[in-house]
Amino acid sequence: MTHARALLAWPLSLRLLVLALAASVVLIAAVRLGAVSLTFSSVLQAIAGRGDSTTITIVRELRVPRALQAALVGAALAVSGATFQALLRNPLAEPYTLGVSSGAAAGAVLTVVTGWATRYVWSLPLAAFAGGIASMLLVFRIAYSVGNKQTLDTRVLLLAGVVVSAFLVALIWLVLTFADTESVRAAIFWMMGSHAGASWRSVAILGVCLAPGLLVLFALARPLNLLAIGEPTAAYLGISVERTKILAFAMATLLTAASVAVSGTIGFVGLVIPHAIRLLWGSDNRGLLPCAALAGAAFLAAADTSARSIAGANELPIGIVTALIGVPCFVWLLRRPATR
């Protein structure tokens, strides 16, 4: 109990420092571990461009971009999940609740079964990104057509998200029912998520998409705190509720759609990382969002490293690893007797 209390009382700077250290350790491990294990010094040499060319290629072109992509996606999904949970005032909300993932999957599957995905490398991420955004717009369109049409009822939004997702998933399976085996396999693997396609280019594009989203959401931390306890309360404490909601939903959707476009639908991170941080340090989004970003980055980079190293030559889908590692950790955190 005293130990738990000491942990709870950590100031924000210490939390961020510890999580940043954890993320750095994981990133170094991610570059060292894999089919070929490397020492720390050979990694440093390879980054500096010395040593044998195979090692340089493995480190510079494969492992570093892949680790960075996993970390960026983890950060984006965790922040997006925390935002959706605050905006929808629902602990079950996650980045995919409003249909971004099923829209993205529909776009991705379309390019897979039509063969564009193999002919044009960038068609799949583009279609996934567009599909994610389009399904989100559809969900908002439905939510706005209900009730008084000027304000957004988040309960209606939640329901609209669930039904639009269900519809899109049905469409995906309808298409896959008539697709060839190879396409079905490719589509299913995409839906389970992977960072195997990471490159410096995908990392750069991801970074450009994520930076504004993360910055805007960090700046919205106080409004998000208020929206999490109630929309009238947020208005009484100085927030333009409708404007803020739309901006926050748009940014969280951007984070999610960009992540899904490069790595497929990786579950669990966006739901559980924010809750884990909340259980440790509470709901104040000024601390929660940056802590969740670092924790999500560390967690997903670790999961990706495990996914490509524990089963030898076979790479596991990362979604399986996130749940297999994450669930026991989360149950431990839930059971920890640390209520104030």
Binding site: A219, N225, L226, T233, Y236, G282, T339, R340
Partner: protein
Amino acid sequence: MIAGSVTAWSLEGLSYRPSGAPRPTVSDVSLEIPHSRMTAVIGPNGAGKTTLLRLMLGTLVPDGGMISLQGRTLAQWTRRDFARAVAVVPQGETDSLFTVREMVAMGRYPHLGPWQRERLEDATAITLAMDRCDVAQFSDRWMATLSGGEQQRVRLARAIAQDAPVLVLDEPTTSLDIRHEMTTFELLRELRADGTTIVLATHNLNLAARYADNLVLLRDGAVVAHGAPADVLTASRVEATYEWPVDIAVHTDGSPQVVPQAGGRSW
């Protein structure tokens, strides 16, 4: 004429019907809410008290009529300016993992920029508000571990920390014990003495009669009577509005006290 000369709020022909509702919950309400006075909105369940407050606060938009605060229509206020002018204790909020201090600190948000840290004056306002509402001992507790009445006092502290010249409360003492109900009303009286304009909705007619300068009696979304407690709370009017026989006694401080009769007609 009602007590208080300067008008804080002015409502003219206000009407509101929720989408899908058969009848309006507020219809053709015209009122002047005086500055630096305590005004209590009373009326039976479903009379439109909360709706009227939300219209005045701009979280519901009227179908017709005009509302202005300090001479500016609500559309002319930004939410941030409004939050610096009017603090609100609303009914019902979602449980979240916030500590009591974090919750009270939210009262300072309208005074801070997005990246700005709490200043010394903010910390002072927060501590003072927690002391005045008797919640300082809960400072580090999670909101969810508090009882309903304790949470209500934290919300009051948040509004006090907001440090606004107008305070609006929606049934602020509903789940409070006698001591905390009385300390709340005493606190409101102190704030009023310092010049704060107070508007509250309440079911406690007797405390409203003792503490408020003016009463607004609502029924079915319309104003039945408006004025000093002794003028509003007559036996026949209260009986007709609440549909229950009552006697009106006079308290030692001179205010009218509503005593419901036992064995009245059931419905």
